[in-house]
Amino acid sequence: MSNNIKYIILVIIFFILQAVWFNQVLLFGTYAPIIFLYPLLILPVYKNEIQSLFMAFLLGLGLDITNHTGGVFAATAVFVVYIRKFYFLIGKGPTQDLDQIRVSNLGIAQKVAYYFTFIFLSQLLIYGLESFNLKLLISKLGYIFINSVLSLFFFILIDYLFFNTQNK
């Protein structure tokens, strides 16, 4: 139960951070990193899926309301939370201890790969759903890549400063 409350609080904090600060500030005058995905990506992968999806939906919906984007963030957040389990299945093959998979137990390289994959994917979805135009999305690939790298930087920073675990 305490874990659930912890995640709920994290979601609220990151929602505020994203809505109030990161969406309003442009890094280098151009880039708007996304960090709202962080609490969703550190959720347990194979436990409480319904709760995770619902939380992702609410977080996304909150951002949509503040940004007037309809359901773009909600669709992206829900998609990313659902698709995570396939990442671990594809990457590691079927394991006996699926329920034991923890993001906090991953090595730094594995974490970078994991975070970057879903940050990039979510950026593609956000810009794709917002523009509804494939050509426009392709023309923004460079921007999306750099934005993803910047977002990744913040993810690693937050991870190191607040959620660093000593043991795997």
């Binding site: 899926e49 319904i50 999806l53 619902f54 992702a56 939906f57 996304g60 919906l61 949509d64 007037h68 984007t69 309809g70 359901g71 773009v72 909600a74 669709a75 829900v78 998609f79 659902y82 759903l129 917002e130 523009s131 509804f132 135009n133």
Partner: protein, 269 residues
């Protein structure tokens, strides 16, 4: 039912994911004008394709109905055409009606060929009514029953139909020499007629069976008969007698009156 419930419970996270995605996508389409327009375009394209496929099926099922409707329309147009032609004579306005029909059987390999059509007395078909197709003449009704009629085809050695050279009053008789299903002969056309290959032959209107001007065929060859002042003209019929398709029975409203005058040249009441 229980199995379905179990399946739903087993896949609950997937179903919940789909539900949330649908809600999100719905919100996107509702709020974004461009997304609305694009979605409308896709919907129109997809439903258009589906409708097109369904239309092909529908058209096939309703083909017979459409055919019948077109036949009726043709009959009305033929009547209108006749009435227009009647303004310059010889027919009277409204003299001819056209009853659409289909040929149920069509012989063309015997010496005396006949056709059975699917209209009879109950439809107003009478013996000695002409039968035409969309391209030209086909035959003359010989016998009728309540729902069917037997037609003497023009591919019949006993058939003799009065025809004329188009745009003239030179007449002759159309007969079948049994040299092919679409080859005919015209006899007794006077040599005064200036004819050439390719000229059109039409019905003369001199009988009460066919109105004037129904196309019959075009001249392929002609020769004069030694000792007689007439041509023997070979023509190719416009109607393909091996494939006659839908037909029209020509109903002459004044047929009895005309025939009666021919038989009794005295005063007729």
């Amino acid at each position: 039912m229980i199995k379905l419930l179990r399946l739903l419970i087993a896949k609950k996270s997937f179903l919940f994911f789909i539900l949330l995605e649908l809600i999100s996508l719905l919100l996107i389409v509702k709020t974004h004008h461009y997304a609305q327009v694009k979605t409308n375009d896709w919907q129109t394209a997809i439903s258009g394709r589906i409708q097109q496929k369904l239309n092909v099926i529908n058209r096939h099922w309703y083909l017979q109905k459409h055919n019948d409707s077109l036949l009726k329309q043709n009959a009305r147009l033929l009547k209108q055409l006749n009435e227009k032609q009647a303004e310059s004579g010889p027919a009277l306005p409204g003299q001819f009606d056209y009853i659409p029909a289909y040929a149920l059987s069509n012989q063309y390999h015997l010496e005396h060929n006949s056709i059975i059509i699917n209209k009879g007395q109950k439809d107003g078909v009478m013996p000695e009514s002409g039968v035409i197709s969309t391209n030209g003449i086909v035959g003359v009704v010989q016998k009728t029953s309540a729902h069917f009629a037997r037609v003497i085809s023009i591919l019949n050695k006993s058939s003799k139909i009065s025809v004329a050279l188009a745009h003239t009053n030179y007449t002759g008789f159309l007969q079948w020499p049994h040299t092919g299903p679409n080859n005919f002969e015209i006899t007794d056309m006077p040599v005064d007629a200036k004819i050439k290959k390719g000229d059109t032959i039409i019905t003369s209107g001199l009988s009460s069976i066919f109105p004037k001007g129904i196309p019959v065929g075009s001249i392929t060859d002609f020769k004069t008969v030694p000792g007689r002042k007439s041509y023997v003209i070979e023509i190719k019929s416009f109607t393909d007698m091996t494939n006659i398709g839908p037909v029209f029975v020509v109903k002459n409203r004044y047929k009895k009156e005309i025939d009666s005058l021919k038989q009794n040249p005295g005063h007729v009441k």
